[in-house]
């Protein structure tokens, strides 16, 4: 049987999610034995050629040429799986969506006109059909492994979409929101990271994005009851998944 071809693509991002593939030290040889990694700039010289069974896409769309390129990738791919917050929800750089681009450019570059960038950073799914999304900044390698296993045996990946709190409680981690009144995004965030922050005594800052039906308005109210200003409580959501949390907030109002 021919090995399924995998392509790894990058748009606007930090490369951390691609690196998470190379960080699967225990699995990478297994992956290579069943898949053909046919395109992966960060690790191999193989040129872009042909069709892909799975395209793993990192990064958000933030320039004009990327808009064209993602369409090309879609045409070459049986499945597009986005990896990470950038590709799945626009990433940290989506903060520009709520700012004035020109002032952003000016701030960073002395000759801003030479910089080509859209005023928005958007998830891949705003541009082409996406078959499956892996959340996280960065993605969790177990989730990627589950996704690849699922592809091989033909099922939907079994990745839960409920809140981080569920796993937080199951692991027996004391709730920092309730017991310390620190603003934790756990209740509106999908599980998947392994409950990292709360297990370090740190409130979740939402790097896995909103869970199903996340009740954003309610959590903001809770934060405000704890003494945060309206503005500061919204800042808590405006991080790596700012686009997705804001979208969830609109969705729930309907």
């Amino acid at each position: 049987m021919k090995k399924p071809r995998i392509g790894v693509f990058k748009f606007t991002s930090c490369d951390g999610c691609q690196l998470s593939i190379l960080n699967m030290e225990d699995e990478i040889l297994d992956i290579l034995s069943v898949f053909n990694i046919a395109y992966f700039r960060e690790a191999t010289d193989d040129p872009l050629r042909g069709q892909f069974d799975i395209s793993l896409v990192e990064g958000s769309i933030s320039t004009n040429w990327q808009k064209k390129e993602i369409v090309d990738i879609r045409e070459r791919s049986r499945l597009i799986i986005t990896i990470g917050a950038c590709a799945t929800s626009g990433g940290l750089q989506a903060l520009r969506n709520w700012a004035r681009l020109q002032s952003y450019k000016k701030y960073v570059y002395p000759s801003p006109d030479a910089i080509e960038a859209l005023s928005t950073s958007t998830p891949i799914s705003e541009h082409v059909h996406v078959d499956y999304e892996l959340w996280g900044c960065p993605i969790n390698k177990n989730a990627l492994s589950e996704t690849l296993v699922s592809f091989l045996i033909n099922k939907k990946p079994g990745i839960p979409r409920y809140s981080l709190c569920m796993d937080c409680k199951q692991k027996g981690i004391p709730c920092i929101l309730v017991s310390k009144a620190e603003p934790c995004l756990g209740p509106v965030t999908i599980t998947g990271c392994g409950v990292l922050c709360p297990s370090f005594g740190k409130p979740c800052y939402g790097c896995f994005g909103p869970k199903d039906d996340a009740n954003i308005d309610s959590i903001l109210k809770i934060f405000q009851n704890m003494g945060l200003t309206q503005k500061d409580s919204v800042l808590l959501l405006d991080k790596m998944n700012t686009y997705a949390y804001r979208k969830a907030r609109i969705d729930i109002r309907q």
Binding site: E27, M166, Q170, C175, D212
Partner: protein, 368 residues
């Protein structure tokens, strides 16, 4: 039932006796929260007390030299009898055979120390669910069978407790091996099983007086008087059945985060999901052979996909999911198992980040 009295200082000997045959799980403070874990006598957070409000929990130390001054943290026995993640069986499939092997680990049985009346009621329900259903859950059985339940009668209620309304406390009535009541100058030890009696026989006891027995009864009476919250349980389950379309459900849905915290801390919530877990190495070794494990993981009726079937979802709205939870607690369980599905421990109130209070929501259902 036998009753003796021991010195407060002899409590340690209960630990010593039990630890010969059991792994002791007891209360301990970690990160300012009361948890249940492998613990020793010295871990008992004597003198500590929790301040609890809807969505709030603070540990304080102001209860003098009482041993069992504290009440309940987020953990309950369920973590130990029905673990959050359990391996049901390992599977292997080749073209011509399927095998499913369950390995019951032979570990030292556990002894739960400091179980309160509400949780003891919940254990009773769990036994019905997992042992007396159409199929006995052999994993639950293996963890539960030789476990010891060392109960403690509450000195004072937690701020969110309403066990008395649910008929689940504060006094321990049955389903225990040993029940401890803390008096001013000693501990009353009652036995509720042969195993409990055997332990008692090894304790250095003192004479018990009429006054001690009166004081013992007064402990629970006093505790009951201090309980702040209540529900009209005599109206259950009908209050729920009559109000399945009450507008209050939509109002709750606006506040409800659906994080599932309430279901995870609830000692009676048992919902779970089962799935096959495989690593890449379980698929790739020999192309026609696959292997992995089938696991059961705690889930919750708050998960959006919980009632999903192919082609639809029976509970797509948050309103419906919250209603499902509360109805199951306060109505359905009576019919399903003949026992209350809510033991009034108040954990769901404390650990709900949104501070949703089941007693108040129930009260709101009474009003049109």
């Amino acid at each position: 039932m036998d009753t003796i009295k021991i010195k407060k200082t002899s409590l340690k000997s209960i630990f010593d006796v039990i630890s010969k045959s059991h792994r002791i799980i007891g209360p301990k403070i970690e990160n300012d929260v009361l948890i249940l874990t492998e613990a020793g006598f010295e871990d008992i957070p004597s003198g500590y007390k929790e301040l609890q409000k809807p969505g709030q929990y603070r540990m304080t130390k102001d209860a003098g030299d009482e041993i069992f001054s504290f009440s309940l943290g987020p953990d309950s026995f369920k973590r130990f009898f029905h673990p959050p993640l359990k391996e049901l069986f390992g599977f292997k499939k080749t073209t011509k055979a399927i095998s499913a092997n369950r390995i019951l680990k032979k570990e030292m049985p556990i002894a739960l120390i400091g179980v309160r009346a509400c949780d003891i009621s919940a254990i009773k329900l769990y036994d019905r669910i997992f042992l007396e259903g159409p199929v006995k859950d052999s994993i639950y059985d293996s963890l539960r069978k030789d476990a010891l339940i060392i109960g403690v009668n509450c000195l004072r209620p937690g701020d969110n407790c309403f066990c008395s309304s649910m008929g689940a406390g504060p006094q321990i009535k049955d389903n225990f091996d040993i029940a401890v009541t803390e008096l001013k100058d000693g501990l009353i030890i009652e036995t509720g099983s042969a195993a409990g009696k055997k332990i008692m026989e090894e304790l250095p006891f003192e004479k018990i007086t009429e006054a001690d027995m009166r004081e013992k009864e007064a402990v629970s009476e006093n505790c009951k008087r201090l309980i702040k919250k209540s529900v009209r349980s005599e109206e259950l389950p009908w209050l729920i059945y009559k109000n399945l379309e009450h507008p209050r459900w939509s109002d709750i849905a606006r506040r409800d985060l659906e994080c599932g915290n309430c279901t995870q801390v609830c000692p009676t919530c048992f919902c779970n999901s089962t799935y096959d877990y495989m690593q890449l190495s379980g698929v790739v070794n020999k192309s026609s052979e696959i292997s992995g494990v089938r696991v059961m993981k705690w889930d919750s009726c708050f998960s959006k996909n919980f009632a999903r079937v192919h082609g639809g979802n029976f509970r797509p709205s948050r309103r419906a999911r919250f209603r499902q939870w509360m109805s199951h607690k306060l109505a359905y369980t009576f019919e399903q198992f003949g026992l209350t599905g809510c033991v009034g421990c108040g954990r769901c109130i404390t650990w709900c980040p949104a501070g949703i209070d089941i007693t108040q929501e129930l009260e709101a259902l009474r009003k049109q």
